[in-house]
Symmetry: C2
Subunit: 246 residues, 2 copies
Amino acid sequence: MPRTKRKAPAASQAANDANGSAGPVSRADTVYRGIRRAIIEQALGPSTKLPEDLIGERFGVSRTVVRAALTRLAAEGLVELRLNKGATVARPSLEEAHDVFDIRRSLERLVVARLAGRLTPGGAARLDAHVAAEEKAKGKDGPESIRLAGEFHVLLAELTGNVILSRYVGELISRSSLILALYGRPHSSDCAVAEHREIIDALVRGDTAGVERLMDHHLDAVIGRALIAPAPDRDIRDILSAYAAE
Amino acid sequence: MPRTKRKAPAASQAANDANGSAGPVSRADTVYRGIRRAIIEQALGPSTKLPEDLIGERFGVSRTVVRAALTRLAAEGLVELRLNKGATVARPSLEEAHDVFDIRRSLERLVVARLAGRLTPGGAARLDAHVAAEEKAKGKDGPESIRLAGEFHVLLAELTGNVILSRYVGELISRSSLILALYGRPHSSDCAVAEHREIIDALVRGDTAGVERLMDHHLDAVIGRALIAPAPDRDIRDILSAYAAE
DNA sequence: CCAAGTTAAATCGTATACGATACCTTCCTA
DNA sequence: TAGGAAGGTATCGTATACGATTTAACTTGG
């Protein structure tokens, strides 16, 4: 990987725009997105340490801006910040995992309810195109496939026009990616594409009740695939506790 | 005006813990909570400028930590950060206001569904105590009353034990406070207390369907009170646009 | 050989410095 | 007098410096 050379000291222009709008991107935003993508694509697994200087060196920025990015990621729940101990990629507990999916069920039901029968032709086209992309990336179960599966749900949320809703769904999706990395099977976006197609069909049909049921089933399937393992390598203490009593 | 004297340079110990747990509080956290409360209690109205040095001086910290606090507030939607223009208290559009209440309806229905019949005696007691406090603060419609009305909903969400859910509800509640400041009546937490009592009763009865209906009605009432004015002093351009065509 | 103590290295928390940008005032010109 | 140019001021964005704290490495006594 081409190491980014240190920028000339003369520099400025940055800000933390938490908005999703396409304003001028700040440097902190670049770092934020970079780390975020790395986590979502599971290049950075749970509990991975995130030292500020190392990241800053990689991105060619100082710790100051890295810190801003990490603060945002922490607010989003993707990163854990402990006092004087630095940042690590979050490691959601099994309980948190269930919490995430509970809320996803509720919010994504709202999404499809808002969308049923109101889908614009342009929106439907975007969904179709996305599912087609998913289909194409189906073979290789690399990070591509993981990301696309999640982005379908985010796209759905964005089509409602409710900015806050799409932000929340986006957060929950990225957390789901972490959960999958922890408790899920190696690769598990098999039949999801077919279910996505069904949801689109029901949406254009305007079948509100049907699409809510479909989404519920889809999420149940996702949960079923995601929460197979009780807790893979949770913590050494947890593993040893089973043996300590003998 | 009592200008806070600069602290001695020897200082340390701080971190941005976005978690709600009661760990050692960082200085950024103190600033974060301070500004947050000021916004919620409507001491800082929408679009109020939030200059970093001024805030830092007030709290006896440097711009660095203020910036961390503002970044978090922006991620939460309470503050707007514009490139090179600094931070201002957010000014939710009417559309955003509807978005907020849409999601509140969905999530708070989830809250009461999770709670119906499962309320511990301790939880019920906390709710009762809170409503009693609301009742007491009913006369004076100062910031106290505004804050308490919101905190009832937050307390409800916290009792579910779902940390993420209570974080989201908390955010939505604080945004609602901003919305109320913009589009609502001067004071409007009248019958809310009675409705809160009804909800508690239905929860202890374990009447899931009933409590969902009650919560829906309650939120409708809140919305009705909150979205009276179309847009008080929105923007001079908006006001003038009605006259410009003649 | 291991536990505990001690020093060294890594990393964090925060203040501060400085260039850059936005904003406001003033003054000049048509 | 309106419009705009020029300068100054306020405030931001970012790098850097330094004390503090954690973590690792290395002793040293048992």
